[in-house]
Each structure stands twice: as C-alpha cells, then as structure tokens.
C-alpha cells in the first residue's frame, strides 16, 4: 500500500490479501430511496462493459424510503456469478447497518466507508482494511442542496470503487452520456462526483487493490437483463394479447415490461390503437378469471403474480384444469408462507404450483433458471397451455425476476408459429357432423376445442361441475370418472413435451439435482466438490411432469442430492412422488433463508450428508 490504510483505530495492519483479478464479491450497504440504485447500476454496467462476468443482487426492503438496502456484485472470470455471501470489498454507507455489514467482510477484505465523520471504535476489525473516504464532506463542498448532495455521494463511491477496482473511467463516462443524452449538465455533475471519489482514492490508497478488475473480451453477445423483463418480452413474442394482474412484489415489473414492449410493438400504426389489453384487476382472483375468460374466448392470456396470488387463484386454477381452459400463470416466488418476506427469494411454491386446487389435479410447470430462459419458457408456456388446454405455471423467483443477469442476447426464430393445439376453425367445424368438447377421438387424451363466435356447431357449455365426454352436465359416476381419467392421462403425456432436463454427466456415482435459480450455485458447487475429490453429475430440471430422463438420471446414480431453496425440500418431494427412484436415493440439501442460494450452502450440505454416510465415497 502506498499510504497506510486508514482503519483509524491503530489496530495492527491486516494481512495483505492475495491478489485476485476478476474474482471477488462486493457489497454496498445504503438507505433505500436515496438514489443508490442508479449508482450501483452504473458500476454494474461498467463492469459488464469491461467484458467481465458479473451479477448484481439487489437486497432491498419491503418499504419505499428510509430503510437499509444492499447491492451485491459478484465478479468471476469463469462465469460463476451465483451469490457467494462472502465479500472481499464492502462499501458501508448506512450507519444503521455498519456493524452488521462490517461483520460480513472476509478477513483481509476492504471496507470503504464515509470518513466524513469519525468511526465508532466498536466497529473496528483488525483483520480487514479500512478505507475511509470523506464522501459526504467532498460532496457537500462541491454540490448544492440536500437532494443533490445525497445523490452525488452515491455516485462518488462509484468513482472511488472505480479507482480501487480499476474500472475504466471512459466506460463510466460513456454510460453516463448514454443515460442522460441531451442533459449535459447532469452528465457533467455526475462525472464530477465520479471524479471526486476516484481522485480521492487514487491519492490516498494504493490503487488498484490486489482484488481488482481487468478487461476481458468485449461482451458483444451478452446483455444485462432481469427475468421479469425477459418474461414480459416472451409474452409479447408468444402473441399474448390479454394480460391481467394485481400488483405484487416481485412480479410487478413483469407486467410493466409487457406494457412497455406492447407500447413499442403493439400499436396499430394508422390508428394508434392497441393490439393488447392489460387489465389491472381488483385482486388476484379476478386476474385469474380474466385469464380464463380471455383464453376461453381464444386469446393467449397470462397473469404474473407471486405466492399469495397463487393461493388466491386456487379455485380458478382448478376450474381451468377441469374445464380444460388454457391459462398461463407466472409465479415469481418470494419468501413464504403468508406475506412472508416480499423482497426476499425462495422456491417455496413448487408443490403448490404442481398441485394447486382441491380435488385431484396436476399442473404443467416450467422452471427457468435465468432471464434468457424466462423469455424462452414464457413462449413455451403458451404453447403448452394451448396444446394441453390446461394451466401452465412459469415458476420463476425474485432472484431471477428482479435482479440483473448477464446472459446471451435473446434470439428469435421467425419460423416460430404458435402451437394452438386442437383449436377447431370454422371450416373444420363445418365439415364435422357434430362436435363434442371432451371426446377423445384419437386417443391422445387431448380433445378438440372451440372458441365462441366461430361456428354454431362449436357451441358448448364450459363448466367446472361434472361433465361427460360429450360436454354435457353429469352426475353419473362412470361418465365423470371417464373424463377425469382422461385428463390425468393428458397431463401425464405432457412429460415428453416440457423442456427436458439439462444433464452434465461424466458417469459419477453421485447426482446433483436442481432447478431454477439454484442452477448457478449448483454448477459452481459441482466444480468445488470435484476439487475436493467428490465427482458429481448434474441435472437441472426444467419442466414438470418430469420427463423420462429425470427418472433415468436419478436411478443411474447411487445417491442424488436434491437442492431446494425452501424449508421442506419441495423439489425432492416432487421427485419422490413423481419418479420411480427410491426415496433413499434422494437426499435433500436445503437453504431457505431468503438470499439467493450460494455454492457453499450446497457444498456444505453435501459434505454433511456424506459425512453422515449416505454413500461410501
């Protein structure tokens, strides 16, 4: 270090940290509603533009203003950007959470804090570097007005970090120019704040730190996008015309995105009128009803929601299942049960989505692992809903839905045409002697469907009460059972139509199984286990009912560790119920405290189980 690190408490200087280029995690603690979100976004984007794999996790409160909020970034040249929860750099801007934040820093790490005021002695830690920068003081000097000073303080720490981590200032300037366009004054003041922090850091500390960035290949093929935006876009591309929702965190931004893209792509040129209709429903029950009504009338329709919404939609889900009405539900999961922690992530609704509603039901579910799959599987959801005439759940979560992920650019095949399934046209109906809604003429469990307004022969009465294969009301045991058995067959047959599991196999004895946002941590864990001599094959499940490859994988391994971001091991439970694998082959590894899962949760979980002797290794 050029200058002594100002830990300010005359504690011994901590051990120097081994250099780590393009491989560290950073956490920034601020107060919500103070503009830190855009500062953090700026830094994240700058790193992205340097070509370095990076992820950002926004750990925000269920509140609008004044409470602690955090932003975590992980940089990893090899692409492991799952959350680690182990930070080498920590920016502590919120005095309410100083103590907790400082405690999270790894030994040898760097704490950046606002040294405009002296630090409480009790917050000292001998094993980390304290890098004090008088951010408030600097900004008070250079800027006018409380709001401006508050905002610029955040931008200033971005400047300081740029110096410390070796972020290219040119990129920062470029990003500010892109963001503010013609508002030259804003660009100037922001860049001034960046320079304030940057210059101060370079002047007072050895810059860059051993833990720092280095440009990589330009990220031309990549974008930064969140899953809700991608899913909303997927709904546009799938041809959905009716969306219904009731606002609920963390799904709200999905409908925001859908509307934004519709405003771009779905305006009739001549008239300025909309080729879509979004109903902000009075509640989730109504939102579900709108989706069923619209699908019944022939549109592709969807509703984004979260756990509480799915609970409220239970009755309608059963109606859609039994009356065989297509419907797409997006569950952006948050922490349950009940209201739970609306701004934390979990995979707590796996079982609910698979079996929602009273009576015997089973639903098709799709499990995207990142925003790119949110886009793809949103499209697939509509095709499956139309083909199987049933509710389909796109089961996402807050981590995927609301955080920015670095993924390959989304692509579209213009050959794609919607699979509307057995939807009869007027011509087809015209040629038929008679149409019976629930008559399985070709034995595949799927019966032809009509929509209103097309042809008098197509008319039938859609109902959630007992009906026979002709579509007539029934209370007859055999007639009822015949239809319900066929519906079961139909859903079973979907197992070969849902996207199949992604399997990385080298013939190991141990299987590792995950879905959704656990993917990154699971892949990383697999590598880490390998370095410890524990070889694992990895399977990521993408759809339910599970395809035969899932069954095969589980049976082919001595044991399988099933990763769940929920308390009760819901994925494991579903595998127990829905595959032929013996229960003792399926070992649960769980984390459910609301942060995105980390590889060390998995590695530790696996190690503990192995230590308990679930298999001889």
């Amino acid at each position: 270090m050029k200058k002594a690190s100002t830990n300010g408490h005359s504690t011994p200087t901590p051990m120097p940290t081994p250099p780590s280029v393009n491989d560290f995690a950073l956490k920034i603690g601020t107060v919500n509603g103070t503009g830190s979100a855009s500062a953090n976004g700026l830094l994240m984007q700058a790193i992205f533009h340097m070509g370095v794999p990076v992820s950002g996790k926004n750990i925000f409160p269920s509140n609008i203003q004044g409470l602690p909020t955090w932003y975590e970034m992980r940089v990893n040249a090899t692409g492991h950007t799952a959350r680690t929860g182990r930070f080498q750099v920590l920016v502590a801007m919120n005095s309410q959470t100083y103590k907790k934040d400082v405690a999270e820093l790894q030994t040898g790490g760097y704490l950046v804090y606002d040294s405009s005021w002296p630090l409480d002695a009790s917050l000292a830690r001998a094993d980390v570097h304290f890098l004090g920068i008088p951010l408030a003081a600097l900004c008070n000097q250079e800027f006018e007005g409380a709001r401006e000073r508050l905002l610029m303080k955040n931008i200033a720490y971005v400047g300081a970090l740029s110096a410390l981590l070796d972020v290219d200032l040119g990129i920062i300037e470029h990003l500010l120019t892109e963001q503010y366009g013609a508002k030259k004054a804003l660009i100037a003041s922001n860049f001034k704040a960046v320079k304030l922090g940057y210059d101060h850091a370079r002047e007072h500390f050895d810059c860059p730190l051993p833990c720092r960035l280095e440009r990589m290949a330009p990220p031309d093929d990549y974008i930064l996008i969140d899953g809700n935006t991608a899913a909303g876009l997927g709904c546009v591309y799938a041809g959905a015309t009716v969306g219904a929702w009731y606002p609920i965190t963390p799904s709200t931004s999905l409908m925001d995105a859908f509307r934004r893209f519709c405003a771009m792509y779905r305006r009739e040129k001549e008239t300025g009128r909309n080729k879509y209709l979004v109903v902000q429903a009075e509640d989730e029950l109504a939102a579900a009803g709108v989706v069923l009504g619209a699908s019944w009338a022939g549109a592709r329709a969807f509703t984004p929601t979260s756990g509480p919404g799915i609970s409220l939609m239970n009755e309608f889900i059963g109606l859609a299942y039994y009356a065989e009405v297509p419907a797409v539900f997006v569950d952006v999961q948050r922490v349950g049960p009940s209201t739970g922690m609306p701004t934390r992530t979990q995979q707590g609704d796996l079982m609910l989505c698979a079996y929602a509603s009273h009576g015997d039901t089973k639903h098709i579910c799709l499990y995207p692992a990142d925003p790119s799959e949110c886009f793809e599987l949103a499209v697939a959801a509509f095709d499956l809903a139309d083909r199987f005439q049933t509710p389909v759940f796109l089961v996402s979560d807050l981590d995927i839905g609301m955080n920015d992920w670095r993924v390959k650019k989304l692509e579209w095949n213009d050959q794609y045409r919607p699979d509307r399934g057995k939807l009869l046209t007027a011509d087809q109906l015209d040629r038929m002697d008679a149409f019976y809604r629930y008559l399985d003429v070709d034995g595949d469990g799927i019966t032809a469907r009509t929509v209103p307004g097309v042809h008098p022969k197509g008319a039938f009465f859609t109902r959630g009460s007992g009906h026979n294969k002709y579509g007539a009301y029934t209370e007859d045991s055999d007639e009822y059972a015949e239809v319900l058995a066929r519906v079961a067959r139909k859903i079973e047959s979907a197992r070969s139509h849902v996207p199949s599991a992604i399997i990385h196999s080298t013939g190991a004895e141990i299987g590792l199984v995950a879905l959704g946002s656990s993917d990154g941590a699971a892949r990383e864990a697999a590598e880490q286990l390998a370095t410890q001599g524990i070889q694992v094959d990895y399977m990521r499940i993408r759809g339910f009912p599970f395809g035969s490859e899932v069954d095969q994988f589980l049976n082919a391994h001595e044991v399988n560790f099933i990763i769940d971001q929920n308390r009760d091991g819901q994925l494991r439970r579903m595998l127990v119920l829905e595959t032929s694998a013996p229960k003792d082959k399926l070992i649960s590894v769980r984390y459910y405290a609301g942060m995105p899962i980390s590889s060390h949760h998995i590695v530790t979980g696996v190690q503990q189980q192995l230590a308990q002797g679930v298999i001889a290794v």
Binding site: G272, L277, V278, L292, G293, E411, T462
Partner: protein
C-alpha cells in the same frame, strides 16, 4: 377470422321466423331443471324472446354465469351459443377476459343475488367500474336457492324465512349500488312482467357498456311465502313502474349495425303523450324510447334516479323500469384504446415483433 354461418331459413315449418330465418325454438336451450314456477324460468323465456326478436345469430353470443339456480339458466337458452358457467361469484372477471379477447361477441351474463352480492360483490362492482360491455341480469330472489334458502345480502330487513328468525341485516340494493358506481344502464324488473322485461333485455343488448338489469325473481321453494318481501304476491303488489320503455330497432336494412347484429323493426307497443317521451339513440343504431310514468323521474340523471329509488323505498315501493341510461361513457375497449378487430383473431404476424426487432431491442440491454 370468424365466418358467419347462415342458418337454414326454415327449420320448424309453421313457426314464425325472424330476420335471419330462425324460430324461437332456435333460441331455446336444454330443458330447465329448476323448480316448477321458479321466477328464473320466466327470465329465461324473456331472454329467448329478446334475442329472437333482435335476430341475433346465437353463435355470436357468449353466455356467462356463476353458480346458483340462476346461474344454471344459460343452459336453458341459446343452445348454439357458447356458455361459461364460472365458479361462484366470479363471472364478471371471466366476462372481462372474454370481452377483452373478443369484443365482437355479444355478452349476456346471468347471476344471482348470492353470486353477485355476497361472494361476487367485489367483481360485480369492478365490472361496473370498467363499463364492461355486457348485459348483466341479476336474478334476485333474496335467498341462496341452490343451497336451500339461506338469506342473501339482498334480503330486506324484517323479511321472514320459512322457518326461524326474520332477517335483521340491511339489504344491499344492487340498483342503488349500480347507480352509485356509475353503471351506464340500470334497470329493475320483475320475472312476472314479461311485457317490461323483454324490451329491457333488448335495450340492454343495444347498449354499449354495462347494462344492468336487476330482476326480482321469486324462489317458489324457499322464499315465496307470506312475510317474504321477494314473493310473487309481495312483488306484484309493491313494484311500481316509473319509466316505460320500448326498444325500437333501426328500420334501415342497408346499414347493419356492428358485430353482425342486424336489428329489425319491432312493434311499438305504446304510444306516448308528447312531452313525457324521450328517444335515446343507442350505439347499434336502434332507439330506446322512454316514457316517464312518474313526472318526477329523470332517467338520464343518475343522482335524481338514485334519490327517486330511495324515496320510493321509503314509501314501500320498488321502482321498476329502465331507471338510468347514459350512452356517452366509454366501455372497457374504448377506455383501453384497443383496435377494432377482436384481439383473439389478430394474426400472429401482427403480434410478434420478430427477430430484427429483437436484435435491435437487445442493444437497450447493454
């Protein structure tokens, strides 16, 4: 796109046919399984008549309902129309979605007082707010018929059940509620008064927006006894028609209305003294002719209509007729500024932005 299927002109020789060659039989449905004498069956008959008289092609109609004896009735009319028997109280949201998907359909919703005023109250109110383009008939009998006669939220204070204590909770009056919330067509009638009901249903069909018709429809099995305020006897005695109405279809055959709906001429059943008569042009080109029976009444003033209905109640009267009509409020599609063609029928090519647009869009995320 949809094809309009012409019906064979004569299917039941001897029976009178309408403009599109259909007899009244063609507008009927399955046999009713309701109790003999149930008010709901009379409403079914009025619906059949109204659709027939308007020569509406049945397959252009979407019949919607919730759950209850009343909600069963869509099975008993317009067998060539699609129907959706939703879950209890949730028909308005199904209707909202179906209308969003296909604005060319003609929507008829049938509900009960339990279905709309208890479990479905929220959805009912919000459908009004959206001015959903539907004829919404509430078959109001003051009880939950299908679950054997518990009081519903429309039961009046003091009305007596067959057994047990009189009701002590104040009623929710759907007509007042609809007026309060700004419904654009508010009517009340009585299942026993077909003369009044048929033109009301027709006018409701001509209306663009939420056409609400509360029909007192006695439940002979559970709420037609002495002491009930929803019995045939009580209703006959206490209803008072305050606005007489006729629905006059356009005569000009060269200019059919929207949505394949070709209105025909109907007889004008009453001739009015000038001055009390008011003709209102409907969006489909037909005319609703109102005649105030009570001088005090103004069916175009929402607040006065409200006050009038209230003061009638204070006098123990149930005001009936087309109580309020407003034709210039936008319905959901106008509020949402959607294209003229049904969304469900738009070709995929018009909906999917394609790969080039996506490639361009991706730059935004860098």
């Amino acid at each position: 796109m949809t094809t309009s299927i012409p019906k064979p002109k004569v299917r039941h020789p001897g029976l009178p046919v309408n403009q599109i060659g259909l007899t009244r039989r063609d507008y009927e449905g399955a046999m009713s399984t309701l109790c003999a004498g149930c008010g709901h069956d009379s409403i079914t008959a009025a619906i059949v008549r109204a659709f027939w008289e308007l020569s509406i092609p049945p397959h252009k109609v979407a019949k919607l309902s919730g759950i209850g004896c009343s909600s069963k009735t869509p099975a008993y009319f317009l067998k060539e129309a699609h129907g959706f028997n939703a879950v209890h109280g949730r028909m308005p949201s199904i209707g909202t979605g179906a209308s969003a998907a296909n604005r060319d359909l003609i929507f008829l919703g049938v509900s009960g007082d339990g279905d709309s005023l208890s479990i479905g109250l929220g959805q009912f109110c919000h459908a009004i707010r959206r001015n959903l383009n539907v004829v919404y008939i509430l078959e109001n009998n003051g009880v939950y018929g299908l679950t054997k006669g518990q009081f519903s939220a429309s039961a009046d204070i003091g009305t007596k059940p067959k057994k047990g204590e009189p009701n002590r909770n104040p009623p929710i009056d759907p007509v007042l509620l609809a007026l309060n919330l700004g419904a654009t067509f508010v009517a009340r009638s009585f299942s026993g008064d077909k003369e009044q009901l048929v033109p009301l249903v027709k006018a409701g069909l001509a209306h663009r927006g939420f056409a609400f018709i509360d029909v007192i429809s006695p439940c002979v099995t559970f709420n037609d006894h002495e002491g009930s305020t929803k019995s045939y006897a009580f209703t006959r005695e206490h209803t008072k028609q305050v606005v007489e109405m006729d629905h006059l279809s356009v005569i000009d055959h060269d200019e059919p209305g929207p949505s394949d709906l070709v209105p025909i001429r109907t007889e004008i059943s009453a001739s009015y003294a000038p001055g009390t008569r008011l003709d209102v042009a409907m969006h489909d080109g037909s005319t609703v002719r109102l005649r105030k029976i009570d001088e005090d009444y103004d069916p175009t003033d929402r607040d006065r209509a409200y006050s009038y209905v209230r003061s009638a109640q204070h006098k123990g009267e149930v005001a009936t007729g087309l109580l309020y009509l407003r034709t210039d409020a936008p319905e959901m599609h106008e509020i949402e500024n959607t294209v003229a063609a049904p969304l469900a029928m738009l070709p995929f090519e018009e909906l999917c932005p394609g790969s080039d647009a996506l490639a361009r869009l991706m730059e935004e995320f860098r």
